[in-house]
Point group: D2
Chain length 335, copies 4
C-alpha cells in the first residue's frame, strides 16, 4: 500500500533516564545530563524530535538552554507535557484535587507548558491527568470530578488556542492510581466532544490502550471517525496488564502492524514517538530496535496490496487475515 514518506520518529526524554520505581526510587541507572541524553537520541536513525516533560525536562528557567541543545542536535520539540502528575502537590489529583490551591496550581502548570511550547516553537502540549482518579469506593464525587476535567480542559484549550497551540489528551486506565477518570479512547473522546474546541484531540499511547483492553488499531479508527481527532501517538508494548513500557512490537507485533496500517489508512500525519521505560536495558539499543522494528513493518505494509487487505476485512475471514500476516510478516527460510 501507499505509505507516507519521510515519517518522523520521536522519543520521550524519560526513556533515556534513570528509570526509577518504588523499589529503586534512586533509579536503575546513573543519571545523565539533558545534553547527554539528547546526544544519545540524535544517534538513532530518523529521530527528528522529542517529548519534553514539564519540570522533569524543561521549565521556564531552562527553556532557552533546552532550545539551544535541541537545535545543536537538530531535534524538534514535538510536544511539551504539562507536569500535572509528578509534583507532591498533585499526589491526590491535579484539576480534581480536593485542595483548591492544588487545582489552581494545575491550571498554572498547564499554562506554563503552553508558554514553554510557544517559546520552543512547539505546536502541541500533552495533557495526561495521571493523578486524577480515585482508589476506593465512596472516595470520589464522580460528577464533580468529570466537570472539573471538562472545565479545566476548556480553559486550557482557550489559552492554548490564543497561541495557536494544540492540546493532545493522553488517556490511561490506571497507574499511578487504581482508577483514572480519562481511562479509555472513548472516555477521552467524550471529553473532546464536550470541550468542543478545534485545538483539542487525543493522544493514543499504545500501552495505555492495551491496559484499557483496547485493540489499538480500532482505537485509531475510532478517533478518525470522530472528526479526525487523533493528534499524537506514543508507541511501546506491554503484557496488557500494566504499563510495562517495553520495546515496540516485542510482545504483540501483529497488533502493532495493524496499528501502523490504520495510522496510514486514516491519514495520521504526526510523528511516531517512543514512550518506553527501559528499566534494565540500554536506552540506545532499545530505541534503535524499536525504530527498526517499525520501519521494517512499514516496509512490509508498503509491499502488501491494499486491495488484498481490504478484501480480507470485507470478508471478515480470520484465516485469510492470518495467512496474509504470516506470508508477509514472518520470514520464510525456505523461499
Amino acid at each position: 500500500m501507499k505509505m507516507r514518506e519521510n515519517i518522523e520518529f520521536g522519543t520521550t526524554i524519560a526513556l533515556w533516564g534513570q528509570c526509577a520505581d518504588r523499589f529503586l526510587s534512586q533509579g536503575y541507572k546513573k543519571d545523565t545530563s539533558f545534553k547527554e541524553k539528547i546526544e544519545l537520541i540524535s544517534k538513532v536513525d530518523d529521530m527528528k524530535g522529542v517529548d519534553l516533560y514539564g519540570d522533569w525536562d524543561v521549565n521556564m528557567d531552562n527553556v532557552g538552554e533546552v532550545d539551544n541543545v535541541l537545535k545543536e542536535y537538530g531535534l524538534k520539540a514535538f510536544i511539551v507535557t504539562a507536569d500535572v502528575a509528578s509534583l507532591p502537590e498533585f499526589g491526590r489529583g491535579s484539576v480534581t484535587s480536593p485542595v483548591k490551591e492544588h487545582r489552581e496550581l494545575a491550571g498554572k502548570k498547564i499554562r506554563e507548558a503552553i508558554d514553554i511550547a510557544e517559546i520552543l516553537d512547539c505546536p502541541m502540549i500533552n495533557l495526561w491527568l495521571g493523578q486524577d482518579g480515585y482508589d476506593y469506593s465512596f472516595q470520589s464525587d464522580y460528577l464533580w470530578g468529570w466537570q472539573q476535567i471538562i472545565d479545566s480542559i476548556s480553559q486550557a484549550a482557550d489559552y492554548a488556542g490564543s497561541k495557536n497551540i494544540k492540546i493532545a489528551l493522553e488517556y490511561k486506565p490506571r497507574e499511578p492510581r487504581t482508577h483514572l477518570f480519562t481511562a479509555s479512547v472513548t472516555s477521552m473522546l467524550m471529553v473532546v466532544t464536550k470541550v468542543n474546541r478545534d485545538n483539542v484531540g487525543v493522544l493514543i499511547d499504545t500501552g495505555h490502550a492495551y491496559m484499557a483492553g483496547e485493540n489499538i488499531a480500532e482505537s485509531v479508527a475510532v478517533c478518525s471517525m470522530n472528526d479526525d481527532k487523533l493528534f499524537y501517538v506514543h508507541v511501546n508494548d506491554n503484557y496488557k496488564v500494566w504499563d510495562d513500557d517495553m520495546m515496540v512490537g516485542s510482545i504483540h507485533p501483529f497488533e502493532m502492524l495493524e496499528f501502523l496500517y490504520w495510522l496510514e489508512k486514516t491519514g495520521y500525519s504526526g510523528p511516531i514517538v517512543l514512550d518506553m521505560f527501559p528499566y534494565r536495558e540500554d536506552p540506545l539499543g532499545a530505541a534503535r530496535e524499536s525504530v527498526e522494528f517499525i520501519k521494517q513493518m512499514r516496509e512490509i505494509l508498503k509491499n502488501i496490496d491494499e486491495k488484498e487487505i481490504e478484501e480480507i476485512m470485507k470478508s471478515q475471514d480470520a484465516v485469510k487475515a492470518m495467512n496474509m500476516i504470516r506470508k508477509n510478516f514472518i520470514r520464510n527460510i525456505k523461499t
Copy 2:
C-alpha cells in the same frame, strides 16, 4: 439518605434455565417450561417483572401465551431483548455481519422485538450486539463496522419511536467474541450521542462493566451526566475477568453498595434486574439471596446520613470512606 420507595426487582428468564456452556451444551440442569420458570420467579419477594429474550423466551407465535402466563402470575414484561446474538446466522455478526442477508435478518429481529414489546405493553427493548466484533488482527474494517452499528440503531430507534418504545443498549467488552465493538459505557455513550434519539439510552450490566475495567458507580454517574441516559440495569457479580454472572454482591459487595448509592443519587427510576447464570446453583435460592442482599444494602444506605457521604467524597479521604463502610455495612458483634 432518602431512598426511593417501592423499588421493583426483575429477572432474566435465562437465570432459571439449563445454563449451558461449551462443555455442557446440554446444560447443567434439566429443562423446564416457561410457565414453570415464571411460577418460580413469582416466589421471590418484590419480583415485579421479567426480561424476555427473543426466540429463547418469546416470539411472534407464542407472545399471546407468554402474555397470559405473565398476567396469571402478576409479572410485567420489563424489557424484550432482540435476538441478534443467538442464532447461527449471527455467528459472525448481526448488523455488522459480512453477509448482507444476515444483516437484514438482524434488522428484522430488532423490529420483531419492538413488535413483541408493543403487544406485551412493554416500554423498552434491549439491544445487545453480542456477536458484533472481531477476534483477529486485520479481520475487520472498524470504520465500516461502527457505521453499520450507528445506522442500524438509528433505524431501529425510529421504528421503536413510532410505537413509543425505548431502546436500551447493553455494552460488553468480550464474550462470545474476543472484542465487541460496543465495549464500554463511554463507547456506548458515543453511539447514543451519534444516534441522537430521545428513545435511545444505555443498559449497564454490572458484570459487563466490571469486565470493561469500570467502577460501576462511576459508570452510573457518567450516564447521568450525559442527559440521564441510563435506561436500565442488570445486576450480578464476577471476578472482573469474565462474565461469571454470579450472585449479587458475592465478590464486590462495597462496589455494589456504591452502585446502589449512585443509582439513587442520580435518580434512576427503572427496575433492578437480576441477570445471573447460576450454572450449579438452585436459581430460586440464588435469586432470593441476591434480592435480599440488595434490599439489605438499601436499608443500610437509608440509614446513612447523605451529608456524611457527601463530606467524605468532598474530602476524597479513603480512610474516612472505609471507616464509613465498615461501621455501616459490616456487622459489629460487640455492639
Copy 3:
C-alpha cells in the same frame, strides 16, 4: 540449532466440530460425522494423529469403528481424554463432587478412557479435571478437595500402569468454573510429586498456561527440571484472559517461538497437538495456518545458531534478544 526431524502434528476432534457456547448451544456450525471430520483432518500436511475425547468422540461401543476410521485415514490415536467434565453428573465436580455416586462415576470414566486407549493401542490418556473447583467463598473444603484429587489420580495411575498407559494431567486456572484446583504448571507438578508414579506427568496447553499468567517457555523448562515430566502439549493462542483457543501464533508469535525452542532444548519427544476452537472459522484453514506457522517457526529456529541464543540468555540482554528475534523472525523486505 539442531531440530528433531519428523515431528508429528495432531489435533483434537472438537476443533472440527460445531463449536457451541452458551449463546449458541446448538453450535456455530453444522454437525458432521466422525468420519467426515477425520477425512478433513487427513488433509492437513504432517497430521499424524488425533486426541479423542471420551463420550464426545469415542466410547466402549463405538471404539472399534473409531479404530477402523483412524486406520483408514492413517491417523494414530495420540491420546484419549477421560470424560470427567462434560456430563451433567459432573457439573459440580468429578472426583471432588459432593455426590459420592458422581465421584465413583468419575473413577469409572477414567478407567474407561484407559480401557479405550488400550483397545486403540494408544499410549496415553488425558485427565483434565475441568469441573473440579469452586466459585464462591466458603463453598469448598480445599484440603478435602486436594486429597480427593491426589487419591483419585493415584488410583488411576495404578490402573493405567497395569496396562502400560501414561496419564497426562492438563491444568487450567478457570473455565468452566471460576477456580479450578489444578490451576497452573506448578500446582500440577505438586500433584505429580505427591502421586509419585512414573506414568503420571503434565500436559501443557499453551492457552491454559497463558490464562494462568505463565510464560509458556518457562513452563516447559519447569516440567523438564522436575524429572522430565512434560508428557504432552496442546497448542493454541489467546489474549491471556480467557481460553479463546485461537490459531497458533496469531497473538503471541514470539512466545510461541520461544516455546518451540524450549521443547527442542529439553528434548520433548511427543507430538504437537492443535487444541483450538474455531467458532467462526473454517477448521481446515485454521488448522493448516497453525501447522504452517509452527513449521515456519521451526525452520527459523533451525536456521539460528544455538550458541547465539545461549549467549543472549547468559547475558540476559533483552535488546540482544529482540534483535535476534527481529532479524530471524520478521521478514526483511529490503534484503
Copy 4:
C-alpha cells in the same frame, strides 16, 4: 468457632514512609525518622511487632539503635527482610543476576539479614526475590535461573539454621519485573520441597496471591497440606491486577474473611502483618482501619458455629455459603 486468643498484629515500616513511585520518586509524603514511624506504629491497638526491610530500615551499623527504639516502644522485630531487591546492583536480578559479583552480593545481603535478625532476637527472615525474573522472550535461561534460586536458598537455609533462624519465602508473580520466577504459592512450595530444609517455608502476601490469580484461603490450605509450611502472612487488598497494597478488606472482604477462617482452621500461629502502601492516605488511619476490620471479622467468625461452615463446605452449596456470609457478615438494620 474457636479462635486463637491474643493474636498479634504487625506492620511493615514502608507503610509509614514516603510511598514513592516512578512518577513521584521523591514520594507522596514527607520523610520521617525511624523513631517517628515507630511511635506512630505503637499507637495502633494490638500492634506487637514490625517487619524490618534491610538497608531501608536496618543495617549492621544501626541495628543497635533500631533495637533500642523497638524496645522503647515495646515492639518486637517479627521479621527482617533481606535487601535483594532495592539496590541498583540488583536491578537485573540478585541470585540470578548475570553478573557474578551481584550474585555474590545477594548472598552477602541474605546472610546480613540473618545476622541482623540474630542480633535483634528475631526468629525469621523474609526472602523476596523481587528482581529475579525476566521481561522478554529469549532473555533468560530458565533452568539456570531456577537452579540458582534453589542453590542460593539452600545455602541461606544452612546459614540461618546454624543460628536457629527461619526463612519465609515471599512469592509474587510480577512487579518490578513482568515475570518473577517464584510467582505463586505452588511455585514457591516447589522450591520449599526441593530445598527440603525444616527452617524454610512460605510467606503469603494476600495481594501477591490475588495478582497470581489465587484464592487466598486455598493458598493457606495448600501450604498447610505441605507440611504446614505457612510461616508468615502479609495482608492488604487490591483489584487483583496489580500490587495496589490497599487497606485490608476494602475490595474483597469476603475473601479476607475466608482467609482468616483458614488461618485459624489450619493452626497458623504467626502474626498478621499489614503490608500496605498508602500513597495518598494517612498511615495511622489506614493501619487502624485495617486492624479494626480484621478484628471485627474475627469476632464474626468466633460467633459462627464451625459445624455450620463445615456442613456448607461439605455440601459445596454456594447459595448456603452466601446466605451464611450475608447473615453473619453484613449488618442487618431491621433486626
